[in-house]
Amino acid sequence: MLELQGIAVSPGVAIGRALVFDREGYRITRCLVAVGEDEREWQRLAEAVVAANEKLEASRQSTTAQLGERLGGIFSAQQQVLVDPHLQSELESLIRNKTYSAEYAVSEVFTKYAQAFRKSHSTFLSERADDIRDVERLLLEALTGQPMATLKQLPHEAIVVSHDLTPGETASFDPEKVLGICTEAGGPGGHTAIVARGMEIPAVVGVGNFLHNIRSGDEVIIDGHLGRIIVSPDEATRDHYKQRRLYRESIATQLQEIRDLPACTSDGVRIELMANVEFPHEALSCVARGADGVGLYRTEFLYLGHDQEPTEEEHYQAYAQVVRDMQNRPVVIRTLDLGADKMGMTMLAEPENNPFLGLRSIRLSLRNPALFRIQVRAILRAACLGDVRVMFPMITTLDELRSARFLLRSVSEDLAAEGKHIQCAVQVGMMVEVPAAVLMLDRFIDEIDFVSIGTNDLTQYTLAVDRSNDSVADLYQACDPAVLRLIQRTQQIASEKKKSTSVCGEMSNNPAYALLLAGMGIRTLSLAPAAIPILKKAIRSVTIGQCEAMAWRALRLSTAREVDAFLMNQLAGLVPEIVLQA
């Protein structure tokens, strides 16, 4: 049994067989064999070469017969690659001297050649890279005895294990087949995390190097709550997780019964539970789970896996679908929150040394007004279909807020001049996720209609910690007293001016933290749709007085550890039936 810790990015528990992907296209596990088994691996390879050669020979003969010698010659050249003396001696050296498995050696050597060919300036050579890849695939298929799985077409249900996944790969996932996702690289804001949450597939990323310890077919448990992955679990561990899964299922039935009841404390204080969504199709599952609206509609998915900027119509169709499906419930659309740290925004963002402090989010949008205008036009058009609100992310200075509002006004004038039907009275809010915005909120507040606290970034910027960095991730605590004070100040300033404050970070997903926020006066929480039912259960089990008492005590504690322990303890006392969930 091997237990590893990563970053939990999509909740849930998955138990299944691993399918390890480690190379572009058809990936293969990086596996070492025991010393002394090199002769066996070398024999396996020799047999695979013979088998692959026979296949190529058959292709050569049939192609030559049907299409002539010229095309048949392609296979003849591939046969030549298969027995190339340089290639063979490199393979032998990796297998004999470095104890690589035959698959790993093949993958390494072919990748090296394919990359060298691709990097060359000759188009002729870079096209040959595909021929090399073909030969590699044949060899690997001969070695493993089965067609190489691609992420698009998984042969069976599996837990996908990989170094990293490209946006294209994650976008082509089949949610029926992918039980869980686990990657060595990646962070909480990456595309893998986003897609996994959107598809409600349990996922753990940022585990660090471990692919050499796992083979396809190994049993794996992914704990998307605690960010843990367990390879080849022992009996007791497997039972523990199976039991937890059963328990979750039984709780889920109970939660279904309160779906249509409001999220009110037992003494009648209404807490709005909104949903964070990434993809248009999620709107329906928000409704099914009893969400009061969409509190954070992330629009980055439109850029996922596309090289081209989305058109105004593509933006509009996506927004319109969500607004319609939410049936007059409010929908808060956050404008682009992209940066060098996220997805394939290569056309806009140069690689940066310090992407979290760089050109991202509203800064990127304001720097690219043409792109920003397209999105704002689509939002304003979609606003005619229901209760749509606009929210600008990562506002740090008043100038940024004013520039963004200016652009919004000018776009709306353009649309009016074009005779387009638009909704003029769209509410405008800002995300509070930079400490500077909290400190200056009294100056911002008169120029906005609402604020939404993004606790993920606020925590990161307040504590100066990158949570995707393993060495410091433990410092990242949304319940750190410093973060709580900033939340408290935000709520106080906004409520003096009768503006609403919501919290839309991952903090809201945790029932204990959510009760604390309610006790601090927050009346709107926005969270993952899947977490809504359990949170509603928690809220309906307490009085607002109990929440306020919790907040009063918590705000007097001095460290994140004390706060966390206190809150968990409180939750166990107030709502014991859901504690096992966390």
Binding site: S76, F117, D131
Partner: protein, 79 residues
């Protein structure tokens, strides 16, 4: 790729060591990957070298192959 294939097949038939050089880069004529890595295209200058008992014969045969454009009906643009 086809000419490279033919070249390797021819070279393997000799005992001598045969090399092709392009702009300082040397390829082993028994290795198709090595030849491809030269990235040689039609019209570029190559130096053919052979060392061993049947070197003269090897040079003669391979020269002939180059002169006949490797029997391609349409001269291939590669190697």
């Amino acid at each position: 790729m086809r000419p490279a294939d033919k070249l390797v097949r021819a070279a393997t038939g000799f005992q001598c060591q045969i090399e092709l050089e392009r702009a300082g880069q040397i390829a082993d004529c028994r290795s198709i990957l090595s030849l491809l890595t030269l990235g040689a295209t039609q019209g570029c200058e190559l130096v053919l070298r052979a060392q061993g008992p049947d070197a003269d014969e090897a040079i003669r045969v391979i020269r002939l192959m180059f002169d006949s454009h490797f029997d391609e009906l349409q001269p291939d643009s590669s190697t």
